[in-house]
């Protein structure tokens, strides 16, 4: 009896372990799910070898002068981006036959988790597509993770970038650790036909209060309609952060002083605004949209034109537009507080390109990125798959190809009319993002008063800062 029970207990313990093990294998599976991409990517790798003889016939003698080099290039993105990038790699390899570029690409899901472990264990790719929000944390923990582009000025030409844009996007205390891949930013996409029939105008600068009043007009026009649809992420990035920054002139968390950039009353004001927006039916009820998560535009309400507008990004406005084929859309101004101390909205870039500091082939990686950013053929192949290009070559090429039009281009033009403070850093850290989203969602659900939520949230943020 005893024996049996003890062995059963032991068995159960072993099972508990192996189930825990299953959790791990799940994540391993999702990694291997990315693997097919890698194997697919081997196809272009094989091509330059076929091309190599023709190149030598053309008089390129470089093949014998150089040791063969293999670079790894890691990025996330959809099929369109992958195809364009693979074509550009092909072209690069045919010009530099001794360099092979291995593509490692997949979805953005789990990308950062993978990248972090690779950086820590010294196995990151030579060329890395990077999320701007992650970069400050990486640079802070180890500035040797990335090569400084300014030290390789003889290989990579940075003159095609607008100087201050370059400085603000990927520049860290005089070091250029990242190069922006494009120009993008927050965008306000609205259904222009609906707006016209309701009598709303988003082309002139308006305030948060105006936005609220316009929301009430929408309700009067049709009770089943809402001015806005927003998820947890949008509440944070499109109301809490810009509103607070406009109010205080500081970012939510101040990077230099590692302190809160706002007072309790500021936060209460923002949360009360959010509460009013929900109480008056300006924003679609959170409980009906939250199950769509990050894919707000898959909500039938958006597809059936029940929502007049949506906060989005210039890199995604075209998708939002395409999701509602019956609607006609325009890009509106972004709300700014009257007497704002800061615009709160700012143009930045969707990603950086970085070169891994521990790479054995930094110079070849720089050579590749020089081609990637400054070559005419590369620009023709890459077009705007990473938003509107930041370099003069890229922009003029896209213009020639007629790609710079429509809501994506309009949103880029629009965001450049604002010059708010870039709040990348502590404010955009994952944990802070989660805390701020929770605060907004609690108010949206009416779970607690703005005062209480503000107090609790500030305590959480203080705790976060003290742990840093």
């Amino acid at each position: 009896m005893k024996k049996k029970r003890i062995s059963a207990l032991f068995l159960a313990a072993v099972m508990a372990f192996s189930i825990a093990g299953c959790g791990n294998s799940d994540s391993a599976e999702s990694q291997t799910a990315d693997q097919p991409d890698n194997t697919e990517a081997e196809e272009p790798v094989a091509k330059p070898e076929e091309n190599a003889p023709t190149e030598t016939a053309d008089g390129e003698t470089t093949d014998t002068e150089h040791e063969p080099v293999t670079l790894r290039f890691m990025w996330w993105g959809g099929d369109e981006r992958a195809t364009a990038t693979l074509n550009a790699i092909d072209e690069f390899e045919s010009r530099y036959p001794w360099i092979t570029v291995e593509a490692e690409y997949g979805s953005s899901d789990g990308y950062q988790e993978k990248l972090t472990t690779q950086l820590v264990s010294g196995t990151a790719a030579d060329i890395i597509q990077m999320g701007p929000g992650w970069m400050p944390g990486y640079v802070e923990s180890n500035s040797d993770y990335f090569a400084d582009f300014r030290e390789y000025g003889d290989i990579i030409d940075l003159s095609g970038f607008e100087a201050s844009f370059l400085e603000n996007n990927g520049g860290f205390n005089g070091h250029q650790y990242g190069l922006p891949t494009g120009i993008s930013g927050q965008a306000f996409l609205y259904n222009s036909a609906l707006a016209e029939s309701i009598g709303l105008d988003f082309t002139e600068q308006y305030t948060w209060e105006d936005l609220f009043e316009m929301g009430k007009k929408v309700k009067e026009y049709d009770d089943s309609m809402y001015l806005l649809t927003m998820g947890a992420a949008e509440l944070n990035t499109m109301i809490v952060r810009p509103y607070l920054t406009q109010l205080t002139g500081k970012t939510v968390l101040v990077n230099d002083t590692r302190s809160l950039g706002f007072e309790e009353e500021d936060f209460v004001e923002v949360l009360t605004y959010i509460k009013d927006m929900y109480d008056n039916g300006v924003i679609a009820p959170i409980s009906s949209v939250i199950s769509y998560g990050a894919d707000l535009i898959t909500d039938p309400g958006w597809i059936n034109q029940k929502y007049v507008s949506i906060f989005s990004y210039s890199s995604t406005v075209e998708t939002a537009e395409a999701a509602c084929p019956d609607g006609s859309f325009g890009i509106g101004k972004l709300p700014v507080l009257s007497g704002a101390k800061d615009d709160g909205w700012y143009g930045n870039c969707p990603q950086y390109m970085c070169v891994y500091g521990q790479s054995e082939h930094i110079e070849e990686a720089m050579l590749f990125l020089d081609f990637f950013y400054n070559d005419k053929t590369a620009a023709e192949l890459l077009t705007n798959v990473r938003s509107v290009p930041p370099t003069s070559v890229g922009q003029s090429t896209c213009e020639e190809l007629g790609l710079l039009q429509g809501v994506a281009k309009d949103s880029v033009d629009m965001i450049q009319t604002y010059s708010g403070t870039n709040d990348l850093g502590l404010t955009t850290e994952e944990e802070v993002t989660a805390i701020l989203e929770d605060a907004a969602v609690q108010v949206a659900y009416g779970q607690d008063t703005p005062q209480n939520v503000a107090q609790n949230t500030m305590a959480l943020l203080e705790a976060y800062l003290s742990g840093k």
């Binding site: 909500d299 969602v441 659900y445």
Partner: protein, 306 residues
């Protein structure tokens, strides 16, 4: 060969035998040590450190545990969610599994095919695809609400309401009864027919037979299933992760999800290890309580001694 070496000393022979035995279990042993024992032991060490994987771990004693139990309100919420989830998932899933097993135990035509079909979903039961499907079905304007609307039943905010989100995820688990169902089916097949025949002669009805014969006969398997499902439920992760990502308002933020978020979103590896040890100790305690309890309700044919 062996006969020749028969003269070798007993000691040596024993040693040799042990060595060969070790070779045989080596594949399992290596896997166990590398993939289970080592992480198990190191995770305890890490739970006593401040470790963000960028820098080397810094020993801080039981600070993580103190913070977990005193300062972290999220932890108590997660614990509550996990306990509720377990309390409803385990019996629900087992009842569904037992009912299906009872039906499948009948000698119908083509029963093997039906059994296979019913087991099929559990082959991809815990998988992400099923969870995504569940999410789409229960979205605000998903198929479930559309059906309810057709029938003129008021629609429900399955995933958007803080009260309904957890029950919706628990419901998904009722349906993932596969492994428990197979166990029950095997156990039902092992119940001696003569007991039922004797009961028939005594004039017992179906319900009496079920409670007086079937249930006691399969009680050991019920017990086994309760333990296994409890362990699974306490470690649940995939469903809440995919369907609601812990929301709305952390109403489905189970401990497994908290563990993942602390580790892979916030890179607080030490803290996450502390969470995992709390889960482990919780499982150990619950399991031993269940074992205590088992002697009262579980019937062993051999009296439990073998």
């Amino acid at each position: 060969m062996f006969f020749k070496k028969a003269g070798v000393g007993l000691k040596k022979r024993l040693k040799r035998k042990q060595y060969i035995g070790l070779v045989f279990i080596m594949p399992w042993l290596i896997g166990f040590i590398v993939l289970q024992l080592y992480p198990f032991v190191t995770s305890f060490y890490y739970s006593l450190t401040d470790y963000n994987i960028m820098a080397s771990p810094r020993f801080i004693g039981i600070q993580n545990y103190i913070k977990l139990f005193t300062a972290d309100r999220e932890f108590w919420n997660s614990l509550k969610v996990t306990v509720i989830y377990t309390i409803f998932t385990v019996p629900g899933k087992l009842i569904v599994a037992l009912l299906v097993a009872l039906v499948m135990n009948k000698n119908l035509k083509g029963i093997n095919l039906i059994r296979t079909i019913y087991y099929l979903p559990s082959l991809f039961g815990g998988s992400i695809a099923v969870a995504i499907l569940w999410k789409l079905m229960f979205q605000d304007q998903g198929i479930i609400n559309s059906l309810l609307a057709v029938l003129h039943i008021p629609t429900v905010q399955w995933l958007g309401s803080t009260r309904m989100a957890l029950p919706t995820i628990i419901l998904l688990n009722f349906w993932q009864f596969g492994s428990a169902f197979v166990m029950f089916l095997a156990a039902l097949k092992n119940v001696p027919m003569d007991l039922y025949e004797a009961a028939d002669i005594d004039g017992a009805g179906g319900i009496v037979k079920f409670f007086k014969i079937t249930l006691p006969q399969i009680s050991s398997i019920i017990f086994f299933n309760v333990i296994m499902q409890t362990i699974t439920a306490l470690q649940s992760f995939a469903g809440p992760m995919v369907i609601t990502n812990g929301g709305p308002l952390k109403s489905t933020y189970v401990l497994g999800l908290k563990l993942y978020t602390e580790a892979f979103s916030y890179y607080k590896m030490g803290y996450a290890c502390a969470v995992s040890w709390v889960i482990f100790i919780m499982i150990t305690i619950v399991t031993s309580i269940l074992f205590r309890f088992s002697s009262m309700v579980v019937y062993y044919e051999d009296g439990g001694e073998f």
